[in-house]
Amino acid sequence: MTFACGHCGAGLQFTGVRTETCPYCASPNFVERPPAANQPHPELVVAFTGDASVARRKLDLWLGSRTWFADARIKRARIEDLRGVYVPAYLYSAVAHTEYTVSIGEHYTEIETYETTGAEGKKQTETRSVTRTEYRPLSGNHVGYVTDVLASASAGLAHGELQAVEPYDLLAVRRYSPAIITGWIAEEFSREPDDCRRVSRGDAVDEVGQRLRRFLPGDSHSDLAWRTTVSWESLAPILVPVWVLAVRYREDKAALRVVINGQTGAIAGKVPLAWWKVSLAIAVAAVVIAAVIVAIVSPGGPPG
């Protein structure tokens, strides 16, 4: 979509974004338009808390602290294209009513008798106390609000990638204003709200499961099954800050993609392993195990 730059009037292309910097006058532009069915207006926004230099420092620390198995080249890699992006997402909340059935384990102790062979080869009967578990069926209800569930509505950042750098501190959320996104990249909403609702609902049911495990009585439990009915669902369009960058550590490999939470600084990325190091470690471990086995077996001599 083409608009005239709000400062110099030059033509500006807005492709999948609602902000763009004019190449002629360097003015940060943003688009304001009435919300449409497939293009909602953001209601809330979490602002960036640091600039690119802060993100870069976090990244250097993170790259430096990777495991010994990581490809060593990663630590002196070239960072390409560090971009601060306001990622579109939906903030989901709902009322969750859950029915569950579970088998609750309650411990009890029993005195049992057993036979041993004494020093002179005589059989003796002794007693000991053992802890056993009695399982009792339990079924009931659990209620609560499920809040703060985020689902990515971005074409560029998958739901899992956003989840990897969550949580955001939503106490610091603000009402959306173009003043907060101006000068940054703000991606347009590009996933269907219904898809995001479905993903969020799944996350909400998982969250209920975690709460249920803390809610159950007894000393242990098994066979937990639950059915959650959500009502009063709300899906609010929100923009959340993310640093996305590519780390190029080898010319022949695709760049490593790293995502940094623009508010909290949490980092996620799959660091490639150096396979020769992994193989070496396995080989060393195999040699050690073999040596131990030999040491155990050899003093006894050959059987017979």
Binding site: E43, N141, T182, W184, G218, W232
Partner: protein, 321 residues
């Protein structure tokens, strides 16, 4: 005051989301001419286009450094709107302290009441939240009812509870344990607006500011309600003994009032050492605090106990021999 459409909790000015169920509060409709267009945000000082600065948390002009004021999240330090007047005056508080010092028991020094020097006697209106809410509460617990081989059997249930005038301390000056001892004795029906002028002879006191910002307060209040719910479901649990009580609450219609509650904070000195005591601001018979211990009496008691133990041991040994 408007209410959340989902849980009917009262919303406050500046709330973006409901404090209880997190439902976003819809924004006031913005007037729009309906035409999409690109815009730039201009510096109010020099007119240059500005970008949002993460450091300044506001748009800042790259040319003249001017930062624009934008709407910030509202997260004020809270302030009391109601106060309970003192009904215990200075003389009564001092009398209550002397009486309390005289009843400190056998371990207290005998001269405590006569030799204690009152250093300061400060009226304090301490900060608290006053919470009303309704909730559907689901619970689980182990109890001895229906137990088989194990002494415990699992139970579950649900109940609708109303929470009325739950006092949640938000004080800097009082410790949590101190506040808990004062709370049961306040007569909340006598609360007045914090701005109401003092009556004749009424005790003037500092109104304490709250220890938390609004955002942090909510977590605190919800934890307090859950703790109250845990106690309130106990009569529902069958059997005589129980353990592992868990609750999950669906809170509705919560209202939170901020109130200042009266107490006298007393600092006294006995033979050079400072101690602290608290007198309830409405009931002079509620007094508690620290008091010195006469270690010579404790020593004497220990010596007597040790002597008796030694005699008993000697007798037992002689018999065995």
């Amino acid at each position: 005051m408007t209410a959340c459409t989902r849980c009917e909790t009262a919303l406050e000015a500046g709330d973006l989301r409901c404090a209880i169920c997190a439902l976003p509060v819809p924004a006031a409709a913005q007037p729009s001419d309906g035409k999409p267009r690109a815009q730039v945000l201009r510096c109010g000082e020099c007119g240059a286009a500005v970008a949002f600065s993460a450091e300044a948390q506001a748009p800042r002009c790259g040319f003249c450094g001017h930062a624009m004021a934008i709407e910030q999240p509202v997260d004020p330090i809270e302030a009391a709107r109601l106060r309970l007047p003192f009904s215990v005056d200075r003389e009564a508080a001092e009398r209550a302290l002397r009486g309390w010092l005289g009843r400190r028991g056998w371990f207290a020094p005998e001269a405590l009441s006569s030799e204690a020097v009152l250093e300061s006697l400060t009226p304090l209106s301490w900060a608290a939240w006053l919470v009303n809410a309704e909730a559907l509460v689901t619970w689980t617990a182990d109890s001895d009812a229906g137990a088989n081989r194990s002494p415990w059997a699992p139970h579950t249930g649900q109940v609708s509870l109303g929470f009325h005038d739950i006092i949640v301390p938000a004080s800097r000056g009082l410790r949590e344990a101190e506040a808990r001892q004062l709370i049961p004795y306040y007569e909340l029906g006598r609360a007045v607006g914090v701005d109401r002028p003092l009556g004749a002879g009424e005790v003037a006191s500092a109104i304490e500011s709250f220890d938390a910002q609004r955002s942090a307060a909510r977590r605190h209040v919800q934890d307090a309600i859950e703790a109250t719910a845990k106690v309130r479901v106990e009569p529902q649990i069958p059997g005589r003994r129980y353990r592992n009580v868990h609750v999950a609450c669906l809170l509705e219609r919560q209202t939170t009032e901020r109130i200042a509650l009266p107490a006298w904070i007393l600092a006294y000195r006995y033979r050079g050492n400072p101690y602290r005591a608290i007198v309830h601001g409405q009931h002079a018979d509620v007094v508690f605090g620290q008091s010195p211990i006469d270690w010579s009496k404790v020593g004497a008691l220990l010596a007597i106990v040790a002597t008796i133990a030694a005699i008993v041991a000697l007798v037992v040994l002689l018999r065995l021999a």
